[in-house]
Amino acid sequence: MSTANYFIEATYLLASVFFVLGLKAMSHPETARRGMFLAEAGMLAAIIGTLMHHEIVSYEWIIAGLVIGSIVGALMAIWVPMTAMPQRTALSHAFGALAAALVGIAEYSIHGETMGGFTLGALGLEVMLGSLTTTGSLIAAGKLQGFVRGTPIQFKGQHIFNLVLFSATVASFVYVLLHPAAAVAFYLMVGLATLFGVMLVIPIGSADMPVVMSLLNSYAGLAAAATGFVLSNNVLIIAGTLDGFSGLILSVLMCRAMNRSITNVLFGGFGAVSAAAGDTGGIMREINMEDAAVQLAYANRVIFVPGYGLATAQAQHAVRELGDLLEGRGVTVKYAIHPVAGRMPGHMNVLLAEANIPYSSLYEMEQINPEFPSTDVAVVIGANDVVNPDARDNPKSPIAGMPILEVDRAKSVIVLKRGQGRGFSGLENPLFYKPVTTMLYGDAKSSLMQLTQAVQHA
């Protein structure tokens, strides 16, 4: 091994150590940022090391790629609003997976015919995972941005079609393993996996996006790890595996928060069930701005429960202002966050953080549920399924068993909602008909701003 090689390996080892330390620092918001500086330094070291690789004969394409990528990446980092974080994350899963897939395809085009069985196997996995994650993530980003219909897209024979598609992808993979020179089979596999990625995500409803995002995160990481096997490169294996397992852990957490299995999320076509639960009857009571303001102003304890509606209305600053005003009047204000509120893990936390709400005021489901009975007013802002008491009370409900924020145990509940329609999942929500509940219709942001004004005069 030449001196340059030792140097390169040293930078890779450093990068691996720094990545692990960086993620370890993520266990607390105070250390997380410093940890990321370490990870960034590790990445920089690995890139500099790689530039000395003996196979590199010219740098023009490398530099072009680095410059274009940095500009696009920096623009995205600066300009993307926090409310669009799910779309951006889905897009970057697509980019990461695409890079892994392209490296695999290039490796195959260079020396696929002479590759050993194991290397070719890893390469096949890398390219398959990479291709299906690329298109799957693009569809997910499209759904989140509203370019693609958010409700599940289903058709007759979908399961059988997908099964055939999957089998064909695997079959072409096996064929390539047996006949490494069969380039047609290899590119057929790439094409089929690309199509499979689309088919995998279109039947999934927007409300299930937290699980899908986590899974795609996991696939993108595993594709990078497979690249590491192809290139016998340990830092790629380590970083890819960390990413893969992070995504896997998040998917499991998200599924648990919905009391559903991963297969159910992927193949259930949830959200397509229209009116599975019959009408609960009863009436929804509307409340006017002044009455709501009086309730809030003279309460002792108020809990805000944000949902995806907060993100779509960009109401995070408005809720902070109302919360601050109430705190100024001596009201104890807390924020209750369900693990799958929003469209990606931790989505609500980031939005409220953007509005400068201290993280010590944000409570997880298990912490806050015992506090609802002693709460005067629970304010539900654009959340629906995560506060649906049917999940707890009605064993026939499609979401039966899903842990919920038990707002219906509060002394009174004000639901901020755009209109009288059902939520994303199309389920009836008995919370809206309970005697403790009153509805405040309108755009969440303007409702909150009007409430703030009304509280000032109360």
Binding site: P29, I56, V103, N233, F245, P339, P358
Partner: protein, 102 residues
């Protein structure tokens, strides 16, 4: 691939998986979004594979594929770390303000 290298690679993979499980399960739900964008940026390490292919000039096709891969992986690294930092800064800012308020 030589079997010794393959076995060593599997060791690395399995140990990294255990380590990942231990480290990631300690991240609080509060930071799950920054966690996802951070691991995403870190997995942009496939950039180093792309760099070698873009610079090695095996075939015209492989160089072009390498170039595209370098670009997308760099978007991920720069964009991912950038946005993670922007989020983590918000979490820190709140705490400082709270300290002042006390």
């Amino acid at each position: 691939m030589n079997p010794a290298v393959l076995i060593a690679s599997f060791y690395v993979f399995v140990l990294a998986a255990f380590l990942g499980y231990q480290v990631i399960s300690r991240v609080p739900p509060l930071l799950h979004t920054p966690l996802m964008s951070a691991t995403n940026a870190i997995s942009g390490i496939s950039l180093i594979g792309s760099i070698v292919i873009a610079g090695a000039h095996h075939t015209r096709l492989s160089t072009m594929l390498g170039f595209i891969a370098v670009t997308t992986a760099t978007v991920n690294v720069v964009g991912g770390f950038g946005i993670t930092d922007r989020m983590l800064k918000m979490f820190q800012k709140r705490q400082q303000e709270k300290a002042v308020r006390k």
